[in-house]
Subunit: 254 residues, 2 copies
């Protein structure tokens, strides 16, 4: 929420009019005229883009004996093997192991598909490469802002039963006196008792996504907020503050 609000603000700064929580009821199309009807209003449009999520196209596997998850994704083990000998699955059609949840999830992303594909190639050739797991890392550029996530969101952490605590900080990308210093907003989600980092999300200027990758490495290794807060990172004014935004977020966890 704290992070997506920044994307919303950036879109509005760029002149976009955002309508949320409206239900699409009809798209009217006559000649070159397009109109979108929702339960709250009607909007003229030049172009209508539908972003409805992704569903595995695995209907062709009906009756094959290959086990599918409820959403239709192929169930695989950490070597990308299905339940049928010698049949492997990888990519947007298949589930993938999640490092923090220690169970399969459906997160169809190019990064995971690439890694899973490479593993299948190795394992088809007699290898036994096991996927360490996805962290659900994702990034998007909205106007001039970078947004990214690694690990669990607060809502995900809670829904999976973690005793999760969030902290949100605003830190400088580079020292205030250095040209181009901007704020990075970071939301860190960690386990209340152990202080283990479960997830991180951020929005800010160039360099925000790469910082989320530092969190990804920390989450993959089970680092605590204390450990990350004392991690040796590079410092020089063109790149960061002495305590980088990553440190500031980690050290804000109580």
């Amino acid at each position: 929420m704290e992070i997506s609000a920044i994307a919303l603000k950036e879109l509005e700064r760029l002149g976009a009019e955002i309508k949320l929580s409206e239900q699409l009821t009809q798209i009217r199309h006559a000649g070159t005229s397009l109109e979108v009807q929702t339960d709250k209003g009607a909007y003229k449009a030049d172009l209508v883009l539908l972003a409805l999520g992704v569903r595995p196209a695995t209907e062709f596997l009906d009756g094959s004996g290959i086990e599918l998850a409820k959403n239709g994704a192929v169930i695989v083990d950490r070597e990308m093997r299905t339940n049928v000998p010698d049949i492997y699955a990888a990519g947007d059609c298949a589930e993938i192991y999640h490092m923090v949840l220690k169970r399969n999830v459906y997160i169809p992303l190019a990064t995971t598909a690439n890694k899973a594909g490479r593993m299948v190639a190795s394992n088809l050739n007699g290898g036994h490469v096991k996927f360490p797991g996805t962290l659900g890392c994702a990034a998007v550029k909205v106007g001039e802002k970078e947004l990214a996530r690694a690990g669990l969101s607060e809502a995900e952490a809670v829904s999976y039963g973690f005793d999760a605590k969030p902290v949100v900080v605003e830190a400088n990308s580079v020292p205030h006196y250095y040209p181009g210093s901007e704020k990075i907003t970071i939301k860190l989600i960690y386990e209340r008792e152990s202080k283990r980092i479960l997830g991180a999300q951020a929005a800010g200027p160039k360099g925000t996504v790469l910082r989320i990758n530092i969190f990804a490495a920390a989450i993959a290794n089970g680092m605590t907020t204390e450990g990350l807060g004392m991690l040796d990172l590079c410092y020089a004014p063109p790149f960061s503050t002495v305590w980088d935004a990553v440190h500031v977020a980690a050290n804000a966890a109580k």
Copy 2:
């Protein structure tokens, strides 16, 4: 060597004339005229800058009973305690524990000084905070190039007795079709048998230093090249290739 060559090239591109391996014998100063004499030539100068390294100014401790290292740095344990009860030391005057070497080193940097100072404050107040260790992370901007390091250099790894193997890669900062795609050169140093990452150095465009921070997190956690090569990192064309430069370097290790 592979990395500093890039800094040299960038300085020459900017019009600097570089003279290496010359021994300074004299600086002549008459009125407003300055001349530097070396064993190989004489150079007119507007300004002479001497960068001769850093030495701890601990002469005032002579006779105090506080143990100093050969170079004069105060010897401390991981709680920043000297050998004298209730006396702590931190910053450029003191040694610091190195995470990879598992011994004290002298690396006087602002990052470490800040962390050590905070620990001393905690520990003076009854705390027992132990420093996880420095990685010798450092970064510098040379013209348009970012240069950074984390962990051990190849020479350091060899000198400390590691069976170290280097690999050097050139990878795209962002996909070749995306505006501003440039090459990042990464040198990775790892243990031959275990594949544990010992150090990484890089030179390239904006984002190079933050990538070295990903290596720092990997090194701090004892990650192998295989582990890092399969680490889930954020991907979208404005930020990276599907296999980020970090992956490319890790997966180049054989």
